[in-house]
Symmetry: C2
Subunit: 154 residues, 2 copies
């Protein structure tokens, strides 16, 4: 886990370096949104609040806002705490699976599924997010459950 965290740290350091040098050259930042989502979901997998804060520091804006149907969480530090609280309500044996991340214009979406070791679905949802000018997540809205489909009329 620690080795993975280090590896993730290296990936994000490189990513931030590229971001900063792009800004210095006044080119538009084109962040790797999939890497941001990997860091963010990594924070949900991380039991240690200090490591969780380190992960979020790379990907989450200091004043970023998280919302789901049950919660509205303003600021990175509050999110570190919220994830800790939510993790206590989640079966620790469940495994988080992600769809590919789709994005345009600093907006992105992905779907996820939390699955028990026996394959039973624990929870599922879809996250919709937006980046700030520094290429960090500034807001993320989670919708639990599958999207209600468009009714078939034909």
């Amino acid at each position: 886990m620690a080795r993975n965290a280090n590896k993730l740290g290296l990936i994000f350091s490189t990513f931030l370096l590229l971001t900063v040098s792009a800004a210095a050259q006044n080119r538009p930042v084109a962040p790797d949104v999939a890497a941001l989502v990997k860091g963010y979901t990594g924070a949900w997998r991380e039991a240690d609040p200090v490591k969780r804060e380190q992960l979020l520091a790379q990907v989450w804006a200091p004043d970023g806002v998280y919302t789901d149907s049950q919660a509205e969480v303003k600021g990175r530090q509050k999110l570190v705490e919220h994830i800790g609280m939510a993790r206590q309500l989640t079966p620790s044996s469940s495994h988080l699976e992600l769809s590919p991340v789709e994005s345009h214009h600093g907006r992105f979406r992905f779907a996820w599924r939390s699955v028990m070791p026996d394959g039973t679905l624990s929870n599922e949802g879809m996250d919709f997010g937006e980046l700030d000018q520094h290429g960090r997540i500034r807001r993320l809205a989670v919708f639990f459950g599958p999207l209600t489909p468009v009714p078939q009329t034909k």
Copy 2:
């Protein structure tokens, strides 16, 4: 069509009145997001730019931002024009079908499908939006196509 537009106008006037009186009493505004989406999608159905502007004036923030994978449109008047342009590229005989709207904390999502008279799919997508403090749409991101599903690992 004119009668429907009047009816819609009445619905939105009532809605705005309720919104204003809630604000005056310092209660949180709880806008009917489904009605907002109805007004917004109504603007996509409306061929007349003047009527389109009237519809959007009820539901879209003056500085609201629309994005899809092909376009970023800032401001209500620009959106009136963008819809006009996009309508010229869309088969006029297609019919727009909507899923129920889901929302929390001023965020919402819905899916849609544009269908030809013979039932053939013309286009489909999912819209994610956010309201401003006055209960109007301040940003909307459209993702075309079906969401890429989470891979089955079990």
